[in-house]
Each structure stands twice: as structure tokens, then as C-alpha cells.
Amino acid sequence: MTEKQTTTSAAFFATLKRDLLIAFKKKNDIVNPFMFFIIVVSLFPIGISPESDRLTEIAAGVIWISVLLASMLSMDNLYRSDYEDGSLEQLLLSPHPLFFLVLAKNISHWLVSGLPVVLVSPLLAYMLALPSEAYGTLVLSLLLGTPIMSLLGSIAVALTVGLGSRGLILAVITLPMSVPILIFGTLAVQSTLNSQSPIGYISLMLVMLSVSVSLAPLASAAALKISVN
């Protein structure tokens, strides 16, 4: 009976593949975070000022905050439909360690909603008149920051998965937690603009990322078990 049992890595990849498949079928999961990011960013020149001097000042902050919002609002999809259609129960009843299955879901989610946002950020940085020497640092810091956001957010989503209206409660839980990421991210960009080395901040973010990769899925798994109860 157990001879045909899958290895954990097979289950990991099956889950990763399934989630990517769903995302590609729905398309919106990929396109919307991206669109949201662009639209929110372009509200700022209208709401604050269209002059490029002013924009330069706020560029890094606006981009980082919009990325935080986009990545946090996209979290909602992570476990929700699985919860509603019962797939989540199936996941929890799998004989494999939940850590890896949850990690697979997180990775797929980041690939689909975090990465595209990071990739388009230089374009918006240009539109907000951020000096071009800071592009590299901006992208790098976002590349480290968005997965941390996804991993942290995943815990919050897992906790709130059974609730009716999640969009905002998720933001209310996660945004305060993401303040450190915002601080280091914007400081890294600022220091590049001041011709200093951003390496300190970047390595701090690297540390945060590795800690969250190894701990957050555990917390998410525990949170899922609590929610499904």
C-alpha cells in the first residue's frame, strides 16, 4: 500500500506545479498585482505633484510602499480558494511535512505576484524621476524584500483564511510587520543616492530573508491547522 507512496519532493513539486497552473489559468493572479502596482504609483504624481524635482524626492518611498501594498493585497489568493473548495483540508491530511507543501505554495505565489512587480519597478522608477544610479539597489532590495513580505503575509493569510472579509484585515496585520523591510529597503536606496554603499542594509535584508524562509512556513502550517479546525 505504501510502496507507491510519493516522496516529499514529488509532493512539493506537484503542489508547486498545481499552483502555478492555477495562476496561469486565471491570469489575473499574475497580471493584477502588477497592474495594481503601476496604477497606485501613478496616482502619486497626480495627487502630490507632477514636477520631477518633487517626484525624485518621494520616488523610492512611493515605490516601496506601493510594492508592499501590492504584494500584501495579492496574498489573499494564497490559501483562500483552497480553503473554500476543501483542497486545503486535503493538503493538511497529506502524509508529508506541511512545511514543504506550504513553502511550495509560497514560492509559487511569489513567482507569480512578487517577481513581476519587482521586474517592472525600474520603469516606474524612471517615471518617478529616480536617478538612474539607484535602479540596481532598488531592484535588489525589492528582490529581497518581496519574498519576506510573502512569507510573513502567508502567516497572516493562514490565520484569517476562514474569515469572510479578509482584504483589509490582512493589511492591518501585515503592514505593521513590514515596517522594518520598508525602512531597510528605502534606506538602501537613499544611501545609494547619497553615494554610500547600501551593502549593510542589503545584507540585513538577506538575513531577514533566510530567517523567514526557515521559520515562516512552520508558522503558516501551524496557522492553517488552527484555521481549518
Binding site: 505504501t2 507507491k4 507512496q5 498545481r18 476543501g86 483542497s87 493538503l91 491530511l93 508529508h96
Partner: protein
């Protein structure tokens, strides 16, 4: 309150008793759902849990699967605590609840490919055969949101055919099935019992299966 499977021969063949519950107690919102609930589920048996609406059938099923831990008492798997052998328990368990675990965007084939591969390796032929058996020929590649309620239920039932799991826990699997579907599912359950597996099922139907035992919850 609880009439259980006949326990006349005390532990004579414990190795054939898959699941044994002893002195289960569960209360929700201070309403006692069941207490002193005892039953054994030996191999080769179909155990139907009966009870009126709100008597705690769903709660009991979820407790047995470990999806709900607000209970007292002991549940043993082949005579041992479940926590001590979680991997073996979970790979022998197949649960289908009120929510059937079928993603609406995916097709039946894609759904089964994932949900089965959480437990065992599975080939596409197996999936196709199973879908044919549950009467979804021609719907293999339609996204599940285009299927009717009963057809979606059938997708999840296809897992029963593919799965080598020895313990099935089914919460109201008959709800949206038509009469043909009911007969089909009864046949599948019977086959499982004859092959030495065990089935635990809640339903308000009266089943026509030889290996049936009934557990009543108030």
C-alpha cells in the same frame, strides 16, 4: 446515547481493528455533542454514522481525521496513538468532506493529478479510467466550474477509485448524487470493504451494503 459496533469479543483480533475510539467527548459552545462514545472500526467494514441534524456527525468525522482537536478521549490506529505514526495514518486515510476539494479552475484531470499525488504516484491512465468509471467521460478537460454540483462531487469520488488508502472517511458523499450515482458509490464502498479496507460514512440515506454497521449519534 451511543450504540457502538459489537465489542463482544474483547480485543480478540486487535490487529484487524483499524480505528478504535474510546470515551470520546466533544462539546461545542457548551452544548455536549457526544460523550462516552466508543466504537471500533475493523477491516472489511462500512460504518455508517447516523444522527439528526446538528448531532455532531461532521464534527466526529473531522475529529477522527485530526482536522479538529477539540475533543477528549482516545483514538487509536491499529492499537497505537495516531501521533506516534502520523505518516502511516495519513497515507492510509482518505477524507472527503462537505467541501469536496475540487478546484473550480482546474479540469477534473488536473484536480486529481494533484490531490492524488499528495499521497501516491499516479498515472494519467488511472485518472482517465477513474473518471470514466464515475461517469465523467467527456468532461475530463472541462474546467470544473462548468460542472454541476453532482458532477463536481463525482470528481472527488474518482479519488476513491484511484486511491490505495485503506480507510475512507466520507461526510455526506451522497448529497447531490442522482440515483445512478448513489448505486455506483455503494458499489465502490462495498468493493473497498471486501478488499479489506474500511469506510466510515455519514448519510441520511439507508444504504444497501452487506458489510454495514450503524453508529447512532442521538
Amino acid at each position: 446515547m451511543s450504540s457502538a459496533a459489537p465489542t463482544t469479543s474483547p480485543n480478540s483480533d486487535t490487529d484487524k481493528i483499524m480505528l478504535a475510539a474510546r470515551e470520546l467527548f466533544c462539546a461545542r459552545d457548551e452544548r455536549v455533542l457526544f460523550k462516552n462514545l466508543n466504537f471500533d472500526l475493523p477491516q472489511g467494514q462500512v460504518l455508517q454514522v447516523q444522527g439528526s441534524n446538528g448531532s455532531g456527525k461532521t464534527t466526529l468525522m473531522r475529529i477522527l481525521c485530526g482536522l479538529n482537536d477539540s475533543y477528549e478521549g482516545s483514538i487509536k490506529w491499529y492499537g497505537q496513538e495516531i501521533e506516534d505514526q502520523a505518516a502511516s495514518f495519513f497515507s492510509s486515510l482518505l477524507y472527503i468532506g462537505h467541501r469536496v476539494g475540487v478546484s473550480k479552475v482546474l479540469t477534473p484531470v488536473e484536480n486529481l493529478r494533484w490531490s492524488c499525488s499528495l499521497k501516491q504516484a499516479v498515472s494519467d491512465e488511472q485518472i482517465m479510467d477513474a473518471l470514466k468509471e464515475v461517469g465523467l467521460r467527456g468532461f475530463e478537460e472541462s474546467p470544473c466550474y462548468t460542472l454541476s454540483a453532482g458532477q463536481q462531487q463525482r470528481v472527488s469520488l474518482a479519488r476513491l477509485i484511484i486511491s490505495p488508502a485503506s480507510l475512507w472517511v466520507l461526510d455526506e458523499p451522497f448529497t447531490t448524487l442522482d440515483t445512478k450515482g448513489v448505486a455506483m458509490l455503494e458499489k465502490i464502498m462495498q468493493r473497498q470493504a471486501q478488499a479489506g479496507g474500511a469506510v466510515m460514512v455519514t448519510t441520511h440515506h439507508s444504504l444497501s451494503i452487506a458489510e454495514l454497521t450503524i453508529l447512532s449519534l442521538g
